[in-house]
C-alpha cells in the first residue's frame, strides 16, 4: 500500500477542510482584537490568566514566548486594570498573575466572540452535529 492509500487521502481532505473552516474565520480574530482594543497575543494571555492564575514563567512557556516579553505583556494588561500581580507564598522569587473583575469580564467577552460557532455548524442536521461533537471531542482529547 502506497503512502496515498484511501485512508490517507480521506484524512488529508478532511484535514484541509477542517483547516479552512477554522482558519477561514479569522474575522473573529479581528472582531475580538477590535472589541478589546489590544493585540490577539494579549487577548490570548488574558484568557490564559483568566482560566487560572499563573506565574510569569508559566505564562511565558504557555504562550511560547520568553520571560522578558511575558513581563511586558503583563505590564500592559496590568496598566489596563485587567490583571494583577500578587506574591507567591511558595516562592518569593516568583509572582502570581490573576485577573481582576474587569479582566474577567473582558476575557469572557473574548471567549464569547471566539466561542461562537459559525452558522453552518448550527445548521447541521442534529445527527451530524452529534457525530461531529463526539469525533471532535475524541480528537481534541488525544492530545493530537
Amino acid at each position: 500500500m502506497s503512502t496515498h492509500d484511501t485512508t490517507t487521502a480521506t484524512a488529508e481532505r478532511a484535514w484541509a477542510n477542517l483547516r479552512e473552516i477554522v482558519l477561514g474565520g479569522n474575522e473573529r480574530r479581528k472582531d475580538v482584537v477590535e472589541a478589546l482594543g489590544m493585540s490577539f497575543f494579549r487577548v490570548k494571555a488574558l484568557r490564559r490568566i483568566a482560566r487560572e492564575p499563573v506565574t510569569l514563567r508559566e505564562l511565558a512557556d504557555q504562550l511560547l514566548t520568553d520571560r522578558p516579553y511575558a513581563t511586558l505583556v503583563v505590564d500592559d494588561l496590568e496598566s489596563r486594570g485587567l490583571v494583577e500581580r500578587t506574591a507567591n507564598p511558595a516562592d518569593r522569587r516568583s509572582k502570581i498573575v490573576s485577573v481582576t473583575e474587569t479582566g474577567r469580564s473582558a476575557a469572557e467577552r473574548a471567549n464569547r466572540i471566539l466561542g461562537t460557532p459559525p452558522a453552518a455548524l448550527l445548521a447541521l442536521p442534529p445527527d451530524d452535529l452529534a457525530v461531529l461533537d463526539r469525533i471532535a471531542a475524541r480528537l481534541a482529547d488525544e492530545g493530537l
Copy 2:
C-alpha cells in the same frame, strides 16, 4: 427555547474542540517557517501565487494587507528567486506575479507540511473518518 439549548451547547463544544485541534497544531506553522526560511505571511503569499498568477493588487486584497506591503513581500520573494513579475498585457499599469520552478517546489513543500493531518486523525476508526470527511466537506462548502 433559550439561547443555550442543547443544539447550541453541542455546537459550541464541537466548535471549541475543532478550534483546539486545528490551532493547537501551530507547530506546523513553525515547521514550515523553518523549512522555507521565511515568515508565515510570505509563505502564504507564495502559496497564493503558486496556485495561480495574480496582480499585486489582487495579492494584497487576498492577504488582507495593503498594496505597499504586497510590493515589499513580492520584492523579497523575487530576490529569493521564487517568483517573478511580468507585464500585464491587459493593463500596462499592473504587473502579474507568478512562481518560478524553484518557487513552485517551495510552495509544494509548504503544502505538504501544512496538509499533513495530525496522527489522531489517521488513527480514527474508518467509519468515523468517513463521516468526518463528509461533514467537513459540507461545512467547508457552505462558505461557513
